[in-house]
Amino acid sequence: MIRIAAVGDVHVDKDVVGRYRPALEELPDRADALLVAGDLTRHGTPEEARCFAKEFGGLGVPVVVCLGNHDHQSDQQEQVTEVLTDAGITVLESAATVLEIRGHRLGIAGTKGFGGGFAGACASNFGEREMKDFVGTAERYAEALETALKSVECDALVALTHYSPVPETLVGEPLEIYAFLGCYQLGRAIDAAPTALALHGHAHHGSERGRTPGGVPVRNVAHPVIKQAYNVYQLLSDEVDATLVGAN
């Protein structure tokens, strides 16, 4: 059995430091790792990254993240990544990592992802250079995710993205902005590997649960959606125990 905690869109800055910490301090009793699905910061500055590292680092469980669009706002994503890495946080962009947990290998492949839309309402690689660049960006991220997912040997494989791989977890958002919240290519990448769970954020008004066309469970863990510090998911279950150790 592996338990992973997950949240996204925490948008940490100085004013948030200390808010999550009491719940995060309980993590070693509740989960084996924490995954954060992007938008770690408000503007993507190294200062905000240090605030995130202070709040989400040093927890006693591995912390694995991908970046979100907010973390790119200041064009300092490399410095943000460096701050987080120096704090012991694993940042995945078109990459994968494996955590050894009680004799199991948990593989996590991550990317920010990008928009583009879904079946019936998606952008095409056609026309103006700007449009082709937009679609090409989505395709590049999705291809990199597929490569990362296929690169690991593990007992349970998790895809971690900021943008959504399916439209089901966007329900609640205006239809007009679905194309800016995710793309079907991410879902196709997730289905190309033996993925057990896909986690994403970005859609603050979306829904929590969905599945890819290939049947992989998808969870939108954006903080405004889950409405708590993090959710906990159990993989490789021998026996279901729905009560968390240490839960009040």
Binding site: D15, Y20, S237
Partner: protein
């Protein structure tokens, strides 16, 4: 009071692009002569800043703020993925 037809769009761009706000998850809905703000943010300061900046940039607009602060309690349940 006259409300410009693009007002909601202008407010949403302000909320996303203003350096001290950077919020993309706030809903802006027109109710007669009111603009109702919804969604959740990470701190009370952020909610207050949103209201202050809208008032500063659109002084003729009357707003009602239903923005909440996202809760950060630990979970009490686990979901089995199968």
């Amino acid at each position: 009071m006259t409300i410009d037809t693009d007002l909601e769009a202008e407010i949403q761009r302000l909320l996303a692009e203003h350096d001290r706000i950077a919020e993309q998850g706030i809903t802006v809905q027109r109710r007669d002569h009111l603009i109702v703000l919804g969604g959740e943010v990470e701190s009370a300061q952020r909610r207050d800043e949103i209201c202050q900046q809208i008032t500063t940039h659109f002084p003729d607009v009357q707003i009602t703020c239903d923005i909440g602060i996202t809760r950060t309690q630990a979970p009490s349940e686990v979901e089995e993925i199968s």
